[in-house]
Symmetry: C2
Subunit: 388 residues, 2 copies
């Protein structure tokens, strides 16, 4: 087994860009990652591509060979789909492929084109990440599913809409200097509380936006990095994946996320780390409550203790363990199939010191990324570490 | 690196069963595979699931955790999509995961539900395996795409509709005793030639049917098989994957399939085998011409020589190297996301000696499976070998 390094990362602008095709977006991110890595396209041996709803949004399946062609590489390419964790599983398999010696250089990432659809069609498309038979036909949508989880959390552990508003405010603050983020706008707790209610207790500012964008990461073996004199200080030292019942109705409780716990447990064991070692975190905050569930599932807080973390300042940029310094899905945006790759890209930039928010974490050495599918019926966790 | 064994296989009936859901179909195949393997569900560490058009056919994405639940297993589950090669890539990653020691037991396969859709919707859904911008909007469908390939082949190398009719007749003959096959009906060359023309030179009997069905295979390490006294005589000794331009217009020529050549070259090298070692073959004959292209791409025939193979009797059940003893996609059926797994299942049965057509190949030890996506923009090849 070899170590796995991040040789380069690439992102497109996140936001509304309905005139751009998925292939166009992914090519931009992938070529940027290649340039950041300083490698030749001919060295890329495999491409792992995450995408969720391309069949609905672009009438395009079988995207992987298309994306390889767009990147100018003639190599095997495979699409991974795990709802909002599509790029997470694409990344995970890339890490395992390099680690096992099957390939020295794998490009992984993903893309989603969403804003070309009507709001109704986007909502319907996203709903395919839930259970069609037992949830969607009963009228549930994702805001209402996460609202059920928030209500269950409040009922069991306490917490308030104000607590969640602090999560939203923090992530908007973090996105301000991030050149790739969809939103560059400060919000206040009052604005979040006053925003239109979407599904009680979640208002409009508790939800991530609809986003077009792409992400790409070049993973290489230690040996390849050394042989090619690559500057690749960040390694992936741990990877884990967990699953759960797809439908909320089949779960014993809604205020915890066992898929995250399983993925984290595997990733920590893989890296030989535990939560206390972790300096900063990128989690899947598709809704504010999702960030709370994630930081508890990842072991940074006991169940019921995470909801006040942002309010207490523990997870802000100046806190002890900043969460979502990129702005998170909430403010950086959530191009579904790209998100898992963008978390690796942002964490790499943060640890390398070339992210606008790196100044808040100059001594950070261990980062964790957390990508979730649907209502956390699937989760993927990675541990990244930087040579200092 | 450990060796990888096929511990068990499972298939549903292939055919029209529009009243059954995808989850129902996959559960049947997976539970059959578990029973065939004689293992506990708790031992399954990962599930790799292939599906192509579930978002369109069932409004269901994020199927992998759903399928894990249906199989009664609480483990990471990932969906793979590579058009008609979806289960092929799911199988390939399962083989690599076991081989690298990441897991000892992985269940891989796939499912497709298609006949619940109208014919027009199926045609439109299948078309998402081609290039939306450069092919579909120009009016191409899959029968016409393969008709272009057949015309290019005839023009370059010769061959005739009669040659292709022999492929169809052979595969219908092979399906006759196969209990899982969609068609149990002999056809004659004359019937094939007289069938309604779909896209010249391909008639109705040159095309595979629309099929509902599922497949599952349990892969285990040599060590697990030995430690648990499993009867698992078939090993996967080689795996390869290749890609090509998605759109036909971007290829230099249409009468050859470089993705198959690349996948085969990798799989043979991996297994330490060459085409002369291979006793029987399951190839991706979505159309009769596709079988011809496949047996040439796999190295069994020089370009231009494969078209007469069925007519000459070389690839029939009594021939030197039978092709598609299962009946192939043509007569066994083609539930898109399940096909790559069903090829492994059928090859395993043929090599173990418990397939109705095993009697034709009592001494066979080396088999090859070939699963292709779209117009062979992707291809996956595996080499299977049996202890004798």
């Amino acid at each position: 087994m070899t170590g796995v390094r991040v040789a380069g990362v690439g992102l497109t602008q996140f936001g509304r860009q309905p005139e751009r095709t998925g292939r166009d977006l992914f090519a931009e991110a992938a070529l940027a990652a290649r340039e950041d890595a300083g490698i030749s396209g001919d060295d890329i041996e495999e491409i792992n591509y995450g995408n969720f709803m391309g069949a609905l949004a672009e009438r395009q399946g079988h995207q992987a060979p298309l994306m390889a062609k767009m990147v100018g590489v003639n190599c095997p390419a495979t699409r991974y789909e795990e709802a909002c964790a599509s790029a997470g599983v694409a990344v995970r398999e890339a890490v395992r492929t390099v680690r096992s010696g099957e390939a020295d250089v794998v490009l992984a990432g993903g893309c989603e084109r969403m804003t070309n659809l009507s709001t109704a069609d986007v909502t319907e498309g996203l709903a395919t990440a839930a259970d069609d038979l037992f949830e969607i036909r009963a009228g549930i949508t994702f805001p209402s599913a996460y609202a059920l989880m928030a209500r269950a959390y409040f009922e069991r552990f306490g917490g308030s809409r104000e607590d969640l508003a602090h999560v939203a405010m923090k992530n908007h603050d973090n996105a301000l200097p991030n050149e790739y983020a969809q939103f560059h706008r400060e919000i206040t707790v009052e604005e979040a509380l006053d925003a239109p209610m979407v599904a009680d207790p979640l208002g409009l500012l508790d939800a991530c936006p609809v986003t077009d964008g792409a992400s790409a990461v070049v993973f290489v073996s230690d040996e390849y990095a050394a042989a090619n004199d690559l500057e690749a200080p960040v390694s992936v030292t741990g990877s884990g994946q967990g699953g759960d019942n797809l439908a909320l109705q089949a779960r014993e409780q809604l205020a915890v996320t066992p898929a995250t716990e399983r993925a984290a447990s595997e990733a920590y064991a893989d890296a030989g780390r535990d939560p206390a070692d972790v300096d900063l975190v990128e989690v899947h905050d598709c809704f504010t409550i999702a960030e709370v569930l994630a930081i508890e599932g990842l072991g940074f807080y006991e169940p019921g203790e995470g909801v006040g973390a942002a309010r207490r300042g523990e997870t802000t940029a100046s806190g002890d363990r900043p969460v979502n310094l990129s702005g998170g899905l909430k403010a950086k945006g959530h191009p579904v199939g790209a998100t898992g790759g963008s978390q690796i890209a942002e964490m790499t930039r943060l640890l390398r010191g070339d992210h606008p928010n790196s100044e808040h974490v100059p001594d950070a050495t261990v980062g964790v990324t957390h990508n979730a599918g649907g209502t956390v019926a699937s989760a993927v966790v990675h541990v990244l570490e930087v040579d200092r």
